[in-house]
């Protein structure tokens, strides 16, 4: 439905987007992740036809944005960053204006405006002027504008930015629900949103795609994925880590906490080990040594860790590792 091929955008000598390619199909909710200035908004502006790419192509529903922008734009709903809206209009006037430009007339227009107002919980401010709205309401007004024509493709640039936790939750629910029969691409730098709403995530850093997969797959890339945390009662941590490191299934250990009579350690397997192999060997060791194992948990990868490790320059990554406490 969306096909982005070798997209490049240069602002002067700076490459804001550098050779980005991906496709999104119906039913997918694609999360576009990246630190500030990564090029998320720039990519979305090219997908929606607001700015022309320096090189590369974008097609929406088979319509090339450069050659046939109007048919492509008809398929799109777009929520730009910072949710702009005409401040001299009322919410209703604004939505009616956009509906009219979407080619909706008469009863169809009324129905569409009413539906969008309802979906975005705007009933309380329908006849209020946009410049008197709180940030959350203004944001949802602009959101409402993007779904007026029930578009098959939705591009949302930071749709939960500036909303309170309840509103954030509502918007995520809305995205997930609409994502069942639409293509949705939304950008964020909040990682929980990937789990909360996405079927797939792309991580972009300094204009380049650095990861592309389901949230599950991305988590697998975490160092933490497959590591096991265990809590042992009554063994000094030095003995514990020494014994643990003698195991062939253990590559590294990290003491998480030392209580008076219990120690919590995380052990990392060497590169890829079969699922459960590490925990099985840990059980065996505990039995052999008569350790009192009070807790054993296989870690799932953590997205924030993946995110940090692949969007930071290598030098910073090294420094951060050194600063870790209790690393043995």
């Amino acid at each position: 439905m969306i096909k982005v091929s070798n997209l490049v955008k240069a602002f002067g000598p700076k490459l804001a987007v550098n050779d980005v390619s991906f496709t999104v199909e119906r039913g997918e909710v694609l999360g576009f992740l990246g630190p500030n200035g990564a090029g998320k908004s720039t990519t979305m502006r090219m997908i929606t036809g607001f700015i022309p790419p320096t090189a590369g192509r974008v097609a929406v529903g088979g319509h090339d944005l450069a050659e046939h922008p109007i048919p492509a734009k008809r398929l799109l709903g777009y929520l730009p960053e910072n949710a702009p809206a005409y401040t001299d209009m009322t919410v209703h006037g604004f939505l009616t204006f956009v509906a009219e430009l979407r080619g909706l007339r008469g009863g169809a227009r009324k129905k569409a405006v009413y539906r969008a107002i309802e979906m975005c919980f705007l009933d309380a401010v329908v006849h209020q002027s946009v410049d008197t709205l709180s940030k959350g309401y203004r944001h949802r007004t602009c959101f409402a504008q993007s779904i007026l024509h029930d578009p098959p493709v939705l591009i949302l640039d930071e749709p939960t930015d500036g909303l309170d936790p309840n509103q954030k939750h509502e918007v995520r629910t809305l995205i997930r629900r609409m994502g069942q029969n639409k293509v949705i691409v939304f950008s964020t730098h909040i990682l929980e949103e990937v789990d909360a709403a996405c079927t797939r995530a792309i991580i972009i850093d300094r204009g380049k795609i650095v990861a592309n997969g389901t949230p599950q797959e991305l988590r697998q890339r975490s160092e933490l994925a497959g590591a096991v945390a265990l809590r042992v009662v009554g063994v000094p941590s030095a003995t514990l880590t020494q014994k643990l490191r003698e195991l062939p299934t253990v590559k590294r250990t990290l003491v998480l906490s030392e209580e008076p009579n219990a120690t919590q350690v995380r052990v990392y397997p060497p590169s890829r080990l079969r699922d459960g192999e590490l925990s099985a060997s840990l059980f065996e060791l505990a039995l052999r040594e008569h350790w009192k194992l009070s807790e054993l948990k296989t870690e799932e990868g953590r997205l924030d860790e993946v995110f940090r490790s692949i969007t930071l320059p290598d030098t910073t990554r090294g420094a951060k590792d050194d600063a870790r406490p209790h690393e043995r």
Binding site: H63, Y78, P84, A85, Y86, T87, C142
Partner: protein, 276 residues
């Protein structure tokens, strides 16, 4: 016209095809263009009258027209039933008032970021440019039309040449459009309305001066052909005919050409900004 809603619904249930059918087929493209322009014009006009600025502008316009006509133009001392003293001042009156209307056209869109909304809707840039321009032109036309009591006054005082008055209004309206289109162009250059206003006043001033006799008469050092060529680009000689009650197609063409050129340039500037 096909119902866009039902077309959307079809589109939702269709299997993933290579190219999606788009609601609203190409046959209605022209009516679409006009409908889009009109929708944008309507929105802009509503926007003008939603704020007190529009009413303040109209009052200032009427007061200044009255002041120039009666005090500076000595309407009553002329002893003739015509609006010559009214139209005479329009190039100067517009010099400040029209850029004040035009300055917000695109700078406001850029400041608010709504330009990103507008240009990602299924409208072309030229539809948006024309739509916004038309709104401001209609607004000025309205302000101009509100000077109608003057027409009644001269009709009451004497026996004016109504054709001449009509020509004056037509020329004045065209000139306002030319100034406005320049305002559209300068407002596309910057998101700062004050900067847009100043550039626009300077540009309009150049258009006046280039063919204003007190200036051109001083240019004795320049070859006459050069002075005449430059003067041909000025609004003054082209507005003069209208004041005398003559509609010359070349004068009409001049104003329309300025408008088309400036609006085209507006498009080029906007495209340049988007390209980065």
């Amino acid at each position: 016209m096909p119902d866009p809603m039902s077309a959307e619904t079809q589109l939702q249930s269709a299997p993933a095809a290579a190219t999606l059918a788009v609601p609203a087929a190409a046959e209605g493209e022209h009516t679409h263009a006009l409908a889009n322009i009109w929708t944008i014009t309507k929105r802009e006009l509503t926007g003008y009258f939603a704020s007190p600025v529009a009413y303040v502008f109209i009052v200032i316009f009427l007061l200044l027209s009255g002041f120039f006509t009666f005090n500076v133009g000595r309407f009553f001392l002329r002893g003739e039933a015509s609006l010559a003293s009214f139209f005479l001042w329009h190039p100067w009156l517009y010099l400040f008032l029209v850029p004040a209307v035009g300055m917000r056209l695109w700078s406001e869109e850029r400041r608010l970021g709504t330009i990103e909304l507008l240009l990602t809707l299924p409208v072309t840039a030229w539809q948006a440019i024309v739509g916004k321009f038309m709104a401001s032109w209609i607004f000025l036309g309205l302000a101009l039309a509100l000077t109608f009591p003057l027409v009644f006054t001269v009709a009451y005082l004497g026996d004016p040449d109504m054709g001449m008055i009509f020509c004056g209004y037509l020329g004045s309206f065209l000139m306002a459009g030319a100034y406005l289109s320049i305002g559209s162009m300068t407002s596309a250059m910057t998101r700062n309305q004050v900067v847009s206003f100043i550039i626009s006043v300077v540009a309009c001033l150049v258009l006046i001066m280039a063919g204003w006799p007190p200036i051109t008469d001083e240019l004795t050092w320049a070859p006459p052909w050069l002075v005449e060529t430059v003067a041909a680009f000025s609004v003054m000689p082209h507005f003069e005919g209208f004041q005398r009650g003559v509609i010359d197609s070349r004068d009409v063409f001049y104003f329309l050409a300025v408008i088309v050129f400036s609006l085209f340039t507006t498009g080029v500037i906007l495209r340049g900004h988007r390209a980065g």
